[in-house]
């Protein structure tokens, strides 16, 4: 591995480096002369976990820079001396890099360009690649000069929630003037506005132990669990395992911390049942050990390689989960604490140690914790002059005094930084000494630390409430969700030794819970370290903006105003000031905001509230959550058996649910759909046509109680249906409204084939299974869907019998006498192929439906066409099917819409009074029997040339069209070739008794208003003679 080598440091040479440094992989000397790849004096001459053998170029705001593989965009910018990287949300204040991780509130950039532009990308986690293009956001005209920074001048007026108190006059100005201005000013980065060109994947993963985080605790946990043989998955959001071990110059056993991490990673990689997922963030924790994790498969490249996804969303099912996600450092609140160059101490150490990038030349360190010693040590070893150590505590430990001595820094115990000076970069800091005097110290870097908050988000996702831990002045996980344990900093154990120990224990326990025993892993020797720090949240100082939530520009004053206006609960604070609601979800600000509110309202922090974290832990590309379900692949496509043949015929297709059905079959010379459809209808009525009706639901029902079962789910009677006969049936829901209809045939004493509408096939099957398994389990009956297994075609028209004689095998007599209307039989066709023949008619013509196993569907349609050639047979689609059913006044989906009763549809006579059935009782409620309910009628335009439209409402002639006179609506319409004009079906108040009346079909949304005549819904062959011929 490229990385830390022991390069002697001048300071260490003088024996002032402190024990830690003498033992450690230590950051080497700076190289004052610009070197490798146009890099500057901001990159150390050697060291860091970057590949100096290669140099990569990138641009920021159009200017070219160079960095190394192993850099993040943030470290590369620092190594190029770039400090100003963004503008804040509200006041457009200049901002620099604050952190070295995903919690970054300031350094958000637009990464990539064109359709691949990704707004709000954290520079601190964006892996550097050759040709990377990044731009700052939310500024105009430029990052250095941003007009809207003028907002700062009126900041007092732009106090928390100011917009609730103004923009109210004149009322009409809100949408027209105020809001557009606000919307333009708000938001951060710009979306590309173009379709995402990349692809995404979803994948499932099952394991015994999921370990979240590859730092010291996570590595130990993975090792302990992995050695037991348990199936272990280790996810780390970084592209390199180690976490804090890479960011610090620590010693583990005989190795530098980074080398130890690599060593453990290597052993883990060698274990057969351990799977390491780098660049993978576990973003959500859900019920029953389900976790979602985002793998950034190719975000470290300019573009994903061909056939590879950009990202992959894992759904991980884990018996146990060890949360080892570390902790997030907190900023301190003081005047102008957001100036570029003010950085978290941990981030400063990370940039020095891991990236050999120098965030400043003259540093001041401000904190109230013992870690300061390490910060100072790392800085001075890197050749950064530490001007002062400001520790809010009056009593500072020896380690810090030693660090001060070693680095030659002034130690200001009991002091505090009250203000940062400078605008685009910090130039100095004002310090209030223990004596209360204020003095200004020049510096270009302020390393601050307000302590650490455990990264406990995943525990909170499942509703476990964090508890306050005075020991580290932070929230730690409370009662953990089932199957989850924590280790290391995530559990409030901030020290390295604790991390290793708790990790080893948690890993072993988790594996043990899954039935894998093993030996405890030996914890390597590490330097004892003190993680003590005194609670310090804010510093009172001169009037200057002191920020709590950097990204949303929520200042101390805003929190005070919220308290003042009674927005005191943590949720009110959040919602009123927007604290914690920015893209970082308050990772660095929530606890501080809570602490300030507690202080302002004289309550303890736990009394004030806890923070609730919601998924995802880190923002996730919406495309990744959708995976490949987009475009044509959004949902599956079901193809009827004749699809290929229909394509050959040049059919026009239509989506009906997941099915793709032939809508009509245009012929050369036909000018529009109406001409084709009308021709198909005429062909059926005068000769013969064929239509694929395989999409209708088919359910095979068998058993001694099959007939009794049908009696209970249908309104009409089935026990008296003869074998070899079919019958039309009607089903209700238990609430008495119509569920579905269809024709069901009795093939044998104990065997029925139920058909449903295409739309309700799944619903009806589910309903029948419910009725059998739950309502009447004692019935000896079984059922199964055979919709997919059987291809079924309707052959309709006066010549249909002649055509079928050429399809059905000759031994079967299908004459009218032998096979009358509503006959059903199992036959053979096309020379011995198993088939079913039904004498059914939806069209009103002499018609049959013939079914064969789906695999023969294509052969059957070709055979039917061949047999029908001499009769000029033509295929017809769903449109012609619809026209003929409307001409015949059959109800369909438009009428069976879940709001109609059997009586509404004129099917009351089908409700048996001699037996019970689903829906019988509730159908008898007063409102369902009301005479003025809209009932099923037919409608003709008075002006026969007029077109009718479904969805038009019926209003009385001569009355003003208002809701009070609304009498129903048109459900279905068609142009009837038989009648030569448009006809309609509808639901009209008291319609059954109004035949002959005229009403208006009022259709304002399409500027329609037609006079129509109410009539019987059966327009064609009312006597029904044709279908019996």
């Amino acid at each position: 591995m490229s990385g830390i080598r022991d390069v002697p440091s001048p300071l260490v040479g003088e024996g002032q480096g402190g024990g830690e440094a003498r033992r450690g992989g230590r950051p080497p000397t700076p190289n004052p002369s610009p070197q490798g790849g146009g890099e500057s004096r901001w990159r150390l001459g050697s060291g860091g976990l970057i590949d100096r053998s290669r140099s990569v170029g990138f641009t920021f705001d159009g200017r070219g820079y160079r960095g190394h593989p192993g850099d993040t965009l943030a470290s590369a910018l620092i190594a190029n001396g770039v400090r100003l990287v963004g503008r804040s949300f509200k006041y457009h204040r200049p901002r620099g890099i604050l952190t070295a991780g995903p919690e970054e509130p300031n350094a958000l950039v637009e990464l990539r360009s064109g359709a691949r532009r990704e707004p709000n990308t954290r520079a601190t986690t964006a892996e550097l690649y050759d040709g990377l293009v990044a731009a700052s956001q939310n500024r105009w005209p430029s990052l250095r000069f941003d007009l809207l920074s003028l907002n700062s001048l009126v900041a007092p007026v732009l106090s928390a929630g100011f917009y609730y108190k103004t923009f109210m006059w004149p009322a009409s100005f809100w949408e027209k003037v105020y809001e557009p201005l606000i919307r333009r000013a708000a938001g951060l980065g710009r979306a590309s506005g173009e379709s995402d060109p990349d692809t995404y994947e979803k994948a499932f993963l099952h394991c015994d132990v999921l370990i979240v985080g590859g730092g010291p605790a996570g590595l130990m946990a993975a090792l302990a669990a992995g050695r037991t043989g348990a199936r272990v998955v280790l996810c780390d959001e970084d592209f390199r395992l180690g976490g804090r071990l890479l960011a610090e110059s620590l010693v583990v056993g005989e190795r530098s911390s980074a080398e130890w991490a690599a060593h453990i990673a290597a052993e883990l990689a060698a274990l057969p049942d351990v799977r390491i997922l780098p660049r993978t963030t576990v973003v959500g924790s859900y019920d029953d050990g389900t976790y979602s994790a985002l793998e950034r498969v190719n975000d470290h490249l300019a573009e994903p390689p061909e056939h590879e996804p950009r990202q992959r969303l894992w759904r991980i099912f884990a018996k146990r989960c060890v949360l080892a996600a570390g902790a997030i450092e907190r900023p301190l609140v003081f005047g102008d604490n957001d100036r570029p160059g003010v950085m978290l101490a941990g981030a400063v150490r990370a940039y020095l140690n891991r990236y050999a990038a120098v965030p400043g030349r003259n540093a001041v360190v401000f904190a109230a914790g013992d870690e300061t010693a390490r910060t100072v040590g790392d800085l001075s070893r890197a050749g950064v002059r530490v001007e002062a150590i400001v520790d809010a505590r009056t009593e500072v430990p020896a380690s810090i005094e030693a660090a001060a001595k070693a680095s030659g820094a002034r130690l200001l115990a009991g002091g505090a930084v009250v203000r940062a000076i400078g605008s685009h970069a910090v130039r100095a800091v004002d310090i209030r000494t223990a004596k209360g005097e204020t003095e200004r110290i020049a510096c270009d870097l302020l390393a601050m630390s307000g302590g650490w908050s455990p990264t406990l988000h995943l525990t909170s996702h499942r509703g476990s409430k964090p508890v306050w831990d005075e020991r580290i002045a932070a929230f730690v996980p409370g009662a953990l969700p089932k199957g989850m344990s924590t280790s290391g900093a995530a559990g409030g154990r901030l020290g390295l030794l604790e991390a290793l120990e708790t990790g080893a224990r948690a890993g072993l326990e988790a594996a043990g819970d899954c039935g894998y025993a093993g030996q405890p892993v030996e914890v390597p020797e590490v330097e004892p370290e003190s993680t003590v720090f005194a609670p310090l949240w804010r510093v009172r100082g001169p009037k200057a903006k002191a920020f709590v939530d950097f990204q949303n520009d929520v200042s101390e004053d805003d929190v005070a105003l919220a308290a003042h206006e009674g927005m005191r609960s943590v949720e009110h604070l959040k919602r009123y000031t927007t604290l914690g609601m920015a893209a970082d979800q308050g990772k660095t600000s929530n606890v501080t905001g809570l602490a300030l509110m507690a202080e302002l309202t004289a309550r303890s922090i736990p009394q004030t509230g806890t923070t609730t974290f919601r998924p995802p832990f880190a923002p996730v590309a919406i495309g990744a959550i959708a995976g490949h379900h987009r475009g044509k692949e959004f949902r599956p496509t079901r193809l009827p058996p004749s699809h290929r043949w229909a394509q050959e015929q040049g059919a026009v297709f239509v989506e009906t649910g997941y099915w793709l059905r032939a809508q009509w079959y245009p012929r050369p010379g036909e000018s529009d759909w109406l001409e084709s459809v009308s021709r198909e209808v005429r062909t059926v009525r005068s000769g013969v046509g064929v239509c694929d009706v395989s999409t209708l639901g088919k359910i095979d029902v068998q058993g001694p109680d099959a007939a009794e079962f049908l009696n209970r789910i249908y309104t009409n009677t089935w026990t008296n249906l003869a074998v070899g006969r079919a019958r039309y049936g009607l089903m209700l829901r238990e609430d008495g409204f119509v569920l579905d209809d269809g024709t069901t045939s009795r093939l044998a004493e104990h065997r029925f084939i139920v058909t449903t509408t295409t739309a309700n096939a799944a619903k009806v099957l589910q309903h029948m299974e419910y009725c059998h398994q739950w309502l009447w389990p004692e019935l000896d009956v079984a059922m199964c869907s055979i919709t997919e297994q059987w291809a079924q075609f309707s052959v309709a028209g006066p010549c249909s019998r002649d055509v079928l004689r050429g399809v059905v095998d000759p031994q079967h007599d299908i004459s009218n006498a032998a096979f009358p209307y509503m006959a059903a039989a199992e036959v053979s066709a096309m020379g011995g192929i198993q088939a079913r023949l039904f004498r059914l008619s939806f069209s009103g013509e002499l018609a049959y439906e013939i079914a064969v196993p789906a695999g023969y569907g294509d052969a059957l349609i070709r055979r039917i066409m061949e047999a029908g050639r001499e009769f000029a047979i033509a295929p017809y689609g769903t449109e012609a099917l619809g026209v003929m059913r409307i001409e015949k006044g059959h109800v369909a989906g438009n009428e069976i819409n879940g709001q109609t009763t059997a009586r509404d549809l004129g099917l009351g006579r089908m409700m048996s009074s001699r037996k019970d059935y689903v829906g019988r009782v509730m159908a008898d409620r007063p409102a369902l029997l009301a005479p003025d309910r809209p009932t099923f009628v037919g409608l003709k335009p008075v002006d026969r040339t007029a077109r009718l439209r479904a969805g038009a409402h019926f209003v009385p002639v001569g009355a003003e069209a208002v809701a009070a006179v609304d009498q129903g609506y048109m459900t279905s319409v068609a142009f009837s070739p038989a009648l030569g004009h448009w006809v309609g079906l509808g639901l009209l108040a008291g319609g059954a008794s109004r035949h002959g009346e005229r009403v208006r079909a009022y259709d304002p949304v399409r500027s329609g208003d037609e006079l129509v005549e109410v009539c019987d819904p059966v327009f064609y062959d009312p006597a029904g003679e044709r279908l019996r011929g």
Partner: protein, 100 residues
């Protein structure tokens, strides 16, 4: 959320269809018996009223994308924890005193 189907084993909840309260019993339905107010009230309660408890809830799910068995799942509506899964038909058979 995962449901341990009696037949298929643990599966994600997206494979199941939810119906609801499994403690409801369909009232006696003799077409000859008159529908008096008591009977109507009984049917109204069956079709429309729910206890909707916050806590353990016996409910009907169907493994539609699996074995298609209807299941009686006992689940805590506050935590989503599934504590028991039974074949609905077996529960129903016990209810009517018949054998599988």
């Amino acid at each position: 959320m995962r449901i341990d189907c009696c037949y298929c084993g643990p599966r994600g909840n997206e494979e199941f269809a939810y119906l609801g309260d499994a403690t409801l019993a369909r009232p006696p339905a003799d077409p000859a018996a008159p529908l008096d107010d008591a009977a109507r009230a009984q049917w109204h309660d069956y079709v429309y009223l729910r206890d909707n408890p916050a806590g353990p809830h016996r409910e009907l799910w169907q493994h539609v994308s699996g074995c298609r068995a209807w299941l009686v799942v006992t689940r805590d509506t506050r935590t989503h924890e599934v504590v028991k899964v039974e074949f609905a038909r077996e529960v129903a058979l016990a209810r009517v005193g018949a054998k599988p």
